[in-house]
């Protein structure tokens, strides 16, 4: 099973990252057209997160082929799959409870909190990776990726926030912050990988 998954994932993480970013972009476009929005978008975002599983696998394959798969990176990729799968499961559970049981009070609070738990785990996994990575260059590179993601998030958030305040654009739910941050990290990583190919003797 793992071997089949490895074959499907291949060695092109950028392809899966693009699929993930594309899925998020399409959802954003549908939100803009008011076809989706708020809680209706969540199942689609969860489905888009499925791309993170082959993304993690192909990142592992790629790093393994180039001899750069550190122990910390292996752990990070494993944790990434855990959060992606648990996000889908918890979000699905929360959605079905909400749709079928019409909960109120503390239960409503509880199911509203459920989908955010794996996202908090993802943030923790990132922090753990930076602490566990013993290769100083890779640590710096991934720290810069995270900072680029943060800069993109702050930039877009500020820009959109003012447009929203002046009622020029529709409201965007706050849970978009992590997908935007992750997309920023992915973009920065693509840039770094391309830059690092220069002078590589393999």
């Amino acid at each position: 099973m793992a071997r089949i998954m490895d074959k499907i994932a291949g060695r092109r993480p950028w392809m899966w990252a693009l699929a993930f970013a594309g899925a998020m972009g399409i959802i954003a476009w549908f939100e803009h057209r008011h076809v989706l929005g708020g809680i209706r978008s969540l199942p689609f975002v969860a489905a888009g997160c499925l791309f993170l599983i082959p993304l993690a696998k192909s990142a592992n394959n790629c790093a393994s082929a180039s001899g750069t798969l550190t122990l910390a990176m292996r752990r990070y990729n494993r944790r990434m799959m855990i959060w992606a799968v648990s996000y889908i499961v918890l979000l699905g559970t929360a959605m079905s409870i909400r749709n079928n049981l019409d909960p109120q009070g503390p239960l409503l609070w509880l199911i509203a909190v459920l989908p955010s738990l794996p996202i908090l785990f993802f943030i923790w996994a990132m922090v753990r990776y930076l602490k566990e990575e013993t290769d100083e260059y890779l640590r710096l590179r991934n720290t810069l990726n995270a900072l680029f993601g943060l800069a993109l998030l702050l930039g877009i958030g500020t820009f959109w926030g003012f447009l929203e305040a002046f009622k020029v654009v529709p409201h965007v739910d706050a849970w978009w912050v992590v997908p935007v941050w992750a997309m920023g990290m992915g973009l920065a990583n693509v840039f770094q990988v391309v830059r690092d190919r220069k002078g590589d003797d393999q």
Binding site: T70, E136, Y137, R195, D201
Partner: protein, 63 residues
């Protein structure tokens, strides 16, 4: 900062991967140091110097 890593490596007929394994770092790290994109920390610079049996200042040169 410039460095003589590529020359020293070539003298020993080591690939970037060989050097990376000896230093216990990734090949990307060796590549980044060699091409001047990244200056190593002092502990790593000492490890490089020890491996080549030369003082740090003979490997890493000021611009």
């Amino acid at each position: 900062m410039r460095n003589r890593l590529k020359v020293l490596r070539a003298e020993r007929d080591w690939s970037q991967q060989d050097l990376a394994e000896r230093l216990e770092v990734s090949r990307q790290s060796v590549n980044a140091i060699e091409t001047g994109k990244y200056d190593p920390s002092l502990p790593l610079a000492f490890r490089i110097a020890e491996l080549f049996g030369q003082p740090i200042e003979a490997i890493f040169l000021r611009d």
